[in-house]
């Protein structure tokens, strides 16, 4: 598929004022993705991805293609390009891309993927632009290119004392061919990458000027608040809006459809001049729902079903050696069953979207989202408009954590705008956000482990019993196969155990489910690494030594990680009486990290005294940002371990707001120390998620060490152990 885009349209997109230098990658034509191209002289831009724009009469613009959720891409992604151009960020205007076809399909933030997948790709973009600017200067001055250097947005030739700004050189550079393999900078010369660079969005977030989705206004817009069925799966029968219409400011009451995963749920929207009026009007609505029998659903009963399902064999996820034989023959065996809850994402900015379906069938969207590119494409199919007729203005996201991978709230606003004939801003209440899902699913886990006569682990089995995110999002989900999304990481751990058989048992569920920061690793790491601790105890071994004894040199990353944890936590140093420490590590698609947690007995409960974290990255962009992400991941992980979780009874979510779905407070936050392993190299791991999974097992292992109590179900009450 080739997408053609007129130069005029492109110039409008970039507000480019003259013949300058535009460097990109050809992106839409999937076959040749990643080839650098010069877009400056094209009358027609064909399937291209411009990232750096040097305007002779203006500034230097670099696109950030990964929505900023708090994870730092607003600084890190443009830095990859700026570094190669020897530009500090104060010389650059950073723009957030909005899923423009010509900027490529990977305009999303998710999977801790931004840096690990773009590190070299975007550096090449900057390096190519630099080479062209240098060539332009050296030709104009008649000096060898090798004698020219670049700094502060200029090319310099010191011997002849000449210099020219990138802007002055842009028009000439624009006529040159793009170097195919531009030379990348020697990392020892980096001014941005790997450094503690201050993030350009921090000042905006310290004086209230950062614009989030919820802050955008356009003239003539209406505000909407939407009543949805409190029982998942219910259908709208009818509604009475006579009282609603009497509320001052209410303009219209219309229905819309929420597309979430494979589900479509109808809702009744109250549109008003201001948001408060819309909310008051909504309270006055009388809506009749047909619950379709789903009001009989009880999560307590569902959990019992999962326990029953655990007795079935399930499908094989991964095998190694002969588990059944080795387990049967082993002298020492143990079994355990672990349970985890559903949880909500609860980003601080509730879901919201401003949409304008215009008369010419062009759609303009202003929202906080993780997935601008996929919005353009999926909405194009759903609403039968061309992708280029959909404009997405991605705002700063007030948190994502996976919730904003799902544009259900964008669908609602788009439909409401079409029906109302006006721009409509739909804002979810916190109650909507807490009660309507999608939720992170629970996983239940059945384990079998065996030790040989020398107390070495000889057989291991992790059976996962759970509903599935895949089944909730894909109508063609195949229940007869294992589900990599729900067994995430369990067969990827580096421990050498000769006989293994991991299994999956699928359970149906009608509630919308979703990826949550670090996805299924957030529940499976807890059970998996806790059970390994049980095996260590059974073997009479120190949990750290037990883990290290299962790691050979092939698994140097995990080994190095644990050794670092051992060192920084002073693992072998005795703790005061009543204290305990626990360790856990987890490797999965997003990366690798580990924790040592120290706890002490306090009254009937436990106090978390300290968390040590090590994250393994290979190469990183901003150590300060990495530390911030790991700190935040740990806070979020503690919430998920010790706070309520989501309960559903009579088909309805019981929790509604932060009073009964609490998140950790500053007073409950332990001291956290983060250590980064980043020795360089091309093998780059993710940052945003890996800090989260090891916390719960390390905490529970520490509690066992302090109290002898093994926690096998999350959440637990930390004040009553």
């Amino acid at each position: 598929m080739r997408t053609t885009l007129s130069r005029r349209r492109f110039l409008r997109l970039s507000s480019f004022t003259g013949a300058g230098l535009i460097i990109g990658l050809n992106g839409v034509d999937g076959k040749a993705f990643g080839q650098l191209v010069n877009l400056s002289n094209d009358a027609e831009l064909v399937g291209v991805t411009p990232f750096v724009l040097i305007d002779p009469k203006g500034g230097i613009t670099i696109y950030n293609t990964k929505p900023e959720l708090g994870q730092g891409t607003f600084q890190s992604i443009p830095s990859l390009i700026a570094e190669e151009l020897d530009l500090t960020l104060d010389l650059v205007t950073i723009r957030q891309s909005g899923g423009q076809i010509e900027l490529g399909a990977d305009q999303f933030s998710g999977g801790s993927a931004s840096i690990r997948t773009s590190y070299t790709k975007y550096r090449k973009v900057g390096a190519a632009a630099r080479e062209m600017l240098v060539t332009a200067a050296s030709q104009a001055w008649g000096v060898p290119a090798q004698e020219c250097i670049t700094e502060n947005g200029k090319v310099l030739h010191k011997a002849s004392n000449r210099s020219a700004t990138y802007q002055e050189l842009a028009a000439t550079a624009a006529k040159l061919e793009v170097p195919k393999e531009p030379k990348l900078k020697d990392p020892s010369k980096f001014i941005l990458l790997g450094k503690r660079v201050k993030r350009p969005d921090i000042p905006l977030k310290s004086n209230g000027t950062a614009v989030f989705g919820i802050d955008v206004e356009v003239p003539g817009m209406l505000y909407a608040s939407i009543e949805r069925c409190p029982v998942f799966g219910g259908k709208l029968i009818s509604f009475d809006d006579s009282a609603t219409k009497k509320v001052k400011g209410v303009q219209q009451v219309i229905t819309c459809e929420r597309l979430i995963g494979k589900y479509r749920f109808e809702g009744v929207a109250v549109l008003a001049d201001n948001y408060w009026a819309a909310v008051q009007g909504r309270k006055a609505l009388k809506v009749k729902w047909d619950y379709q029998g789903y009001d009989k659903f009880s999560l307590t009963a569902y959990e019992q079903q999962l326990r029953e399902l655990a007795k079935s064999e399930g499908v094989v996820d991964h095998t190694k050696g002969d588990f059944d034989k080795a387990y049967a023959a082993a002298p020492t065996k143990l079994e355990a069953f672990y349970e985890t809850p559903m949880v909500s994402h609860s980003p601080m900015e509730p879901m919201n979207c401003l949409a304008h379906w215009k008369e010419n069938n062009q759609i303009e969207i202003w929202t906080s989202t993780q997935v601008p590119f996929s919005i353009k494409n999926s909405f194009s199919k759903e609403y039968k408009v061309k992708p280029e007729d959909i404009t997405v203005h991605v705002q700063f996201n007030g948190g994502g954590f996976g919730r904003r991978l799902y544009p259900d709230y964008v669908h609602e606003a788009v439909q409401l705008s079409k029906k109302a004939g006006k721009p409509v801003k739909a804002i979810w209440t916190r109650e909507d956000d807490t009660q309507q899902g999608p939720f992170r699913p629970m996983t239940f886990s059945a384990f079998k482990g065996a030790l040989d006569a020398n107390k070495k682990p000889v057989a291991f089995q992790h059976k996962v019993i759970s509903p599935s995110i895949g089944a909730a999002t894909n109508p063609n989900y195949d229940k007869t196969k294992t589900d990599g999304g729900m067994t995430e990481g369990i067969s990827e751990q580096a421990y050498e155990i000769p006989n293994m058989k991991n299994l999956y048992v699928h359970a149906d569920m009608h509630v919308p489910l979703a990826a949550w920061r670090a996805v299924t690793s957030t529940t499976l790491a807890f059970s998996h690494e806790s059970f390994l601790d049980e095996m260590a105890v059974k073997a009479g071994a120190d949990p750290m030594a037990f883990r290290l004894s299962m790691l050979d040199s092939k698994h140097s990353d995990t080994k190095r990680l644990l050794e670092k944890l051992k060192e920084v936590s002073n693992w072998d140093k005795p703790l005061p009486a009543g204290w305990g420490r626990g360790v856990a590590q987890w490797e999965f698609f997003a990366g690798l990290a580990g924790n040592v947690v120290e706890v002490s007995k306090k009254g009937d409960g436990i106090k978390i005294e300290k968390v040590y974290a090590v994250i393994d990255l290979g190469t990183m962009v901003n150590p300060d940002m990495v530390e911030a992400q790991v700190e935040g991941a740990i806070v979020m992980a503690i919430t998920a371990a010790i706070k309520n979780g989501i309960r559903i009874e009579n088909g309805k979510t019981i929790q509604s707001n932060f009073h009964n779905n609490p998140i950790l407070k500053i007073t409950e936050t332990p001291p956290i120390e983060v250590f980064i392993l980043a020795e360089g190299g091309e093998k780059i791991k993710g940052v945003g998620e890996p800090g989260l999974p090891p916390l719960a097992p390390a905490l529970c292992n520490a509690i066992f060490a302090a109290t002898g109590k093994r926690i096998r179900r999350l959440p637990f009450d930390i004040n009553k152990i």
Binding site: G70, A243, Y275, W276, G281, E349, G632, N657, K665
Partner: protein, 167 residues
């Protein structure tokens, strides 16, 4: 229900003093101050997080005291001096903002206006806080991104900055 709604639809002209500027607005007297500030005064730095005094994202100062604007009816704010994040300083020179930048506190940033306003009011009352006092003062402000370790450091630093150069 019906009567209650009709009752709500009375409108009242109210004068709000926000960041030393006066705004005349005509709104439902029950409207929370939060929505009056955001949608009628037009200052968007104050955020909606929960709407029930649980998260602190909507914190503004009323005569110097932190209040949850989502749970304060707009009428209660008439004749009071309201300060929002926008009125804190012209160029981020408030010591709390300086400390926030120094420690790179915000992640997504959504809770941070509320965090900063709470810290500003607290440090005015207690210029020499202990770590426990900082925690206690900030505990009503939730942060889903988990910036608490940095908030602790930044509030402490802001206290030092204020001592060196009162704002």
């Amino acid at each position: 229900m019906l009567n209650w709604c009709l009752q709500l639809s009375f409108m009242a002209a109210i004068t709000l003093t926000v960041n030393n500027k006066q705004y005349k607005i005509d709104v439902d007297p029950q409207m929370p101050l939060l929505w009056a500030i955001r949608d009628f005064v037009g200052l968007k730095g104050t955020k909606f997080g929960c709407g029930m005094a649980q998260c602190g994202a909507c914190t503004v100062l009323m005569d110097g005291n932190p209040v949850r604007s989502c749970s304060t009816p707009v009428t209660a704010a008439a004749n009071k001096k309201i300060s929002t994040i926008e009125g804190l300083s012209d160029n981020l020179e408030h010591p709390v903002q300086q400390a926030w930048i120094e420690f790179q506190v915000p992640q997504c940033g959504y809770c941070q206006s509320g965090q900063i306003m709470t810290a500003v009011a607290f440090l005015k009352k207690n210029p020499n806080p202990t770590e426990e006092q900082i925690d206690a003062a900030m505990q009503g402000n939730l942060c889903r991104c988990g910036t608490y370790p940095r908030i602790r450091k930044a509030v402490k630093r802001a206290a030092e900055l204020m001592k060196a150069k009162p704002f």
